[in-house]
Amino acid sequence: MSCERNRSGIRRVALGTAPSRRLEAHLVSCSACRGILDDDRRWLAEMDEELRKALAVEPSASLLPRVREVASRRLAEEPRSRLLWLLPVAASIVALAMLLPFARRIPLAPGSTPAPPSPTGATIEPAPSQLQIPATIARPQARKGSPGQQARGRSMRHRAPARTALVAVEPEVIVPPGGEAALLRYVRAIRHTLVVDEVVLGPGPDPINWTEPASMRQQPRAVERFPEEMEPPTTDAEAHTLGD
């Protein structure tokens, strides 16, 4: 067996690996390889000892007091640092509280005033010049209904600002001259609860003569009779004869 081929195997044995049977038999018979193994083991032991001596260095006597001082300072800062995370949370809560009134407000039409909030949050009192919303729409909480329906009515409260803005828009209806009374009757007819307090008259489109001119009136026509030979048959027999 070649000693050179066993060199790596001998190094592994020196590092602690169990030798194979062949290598073990060679080491028994070869004193040179046995000497290499001993040298490797001695070298490793010296290296470990060198490392152990190097790492046996002691810190200076001033290290312990310094460590105690710094550690006590850090621990004294600890209670304050634990509460630092509360600062951004508190700032966020304050900012949200300040922005909440602005978030609930919807811009209204110029010159109109927002409806005062009611205890239920759903009743709307429009301005005198505004159309009144029918009670069936404006007061959903007044309806008799199931608990589920009442809950839906309560869930509509958050829409109160939007409804206020809708009512606050000044309606504009162009009525032909002399048609105010007819419009009022029409509105009352289709919405019994709708009350129009006043009608604002504007210039409107070009005046139209709403009375039908006499020339366009339909006159009754004179009834003309067919000649006798063109009178339609009156019985089935006559009709059959005519068909033939």
Partner: protein, 180 residues
Amino acid sequence: MHGPVAIPLAGAVTRAVGLPLDAESEEDLVEGSRLAFRVAWSVLRQREDAEDVAQEALSRACRNLASLRDRGSFRPWLVRIAWRLALNHRRASRRRERRELVLADPARPRGVEELAAASESRARLWAAIDRLPEKLRLVTVLAGIEGHDVRAVAALAGVPVGTVKSRLHAARRRLMEALS
């Protein structure tokens, strides 16, 4: 009335603020600072720098003490902090030295301590250790500290005993190849 109560958990830190400790906790403080210093010294080989790193490591351990629940994990935690701080410190020092070498006189005499520590065999050994991969280097250093067997190294490095054995074997083999 109860007298002072001994606090066994992480005694090295509670001792630092003057709380009453048992003898084991007092030992924690001394051994913890020594261990952090040796780990830092194995990387830096400068006493002052190693002490600064050990002080900083114990300071950080105190600051993050609330996240530590097991007394047994205090020393491995301290070792990892000291090891990482020492590596960062050495990188910064090397950058600084490179800058200074450009400006300084190349014939500048070396320091007395540096010369004393520069025996040839030891310098070659540390140079070879510095070239080891980080995982192999850490177990080599921890195993080189007196009183640390394989189990202690495994506990400090936070790896299984078998992993420590294989890493130690690989590290010693590389050192042999580099030095012989």
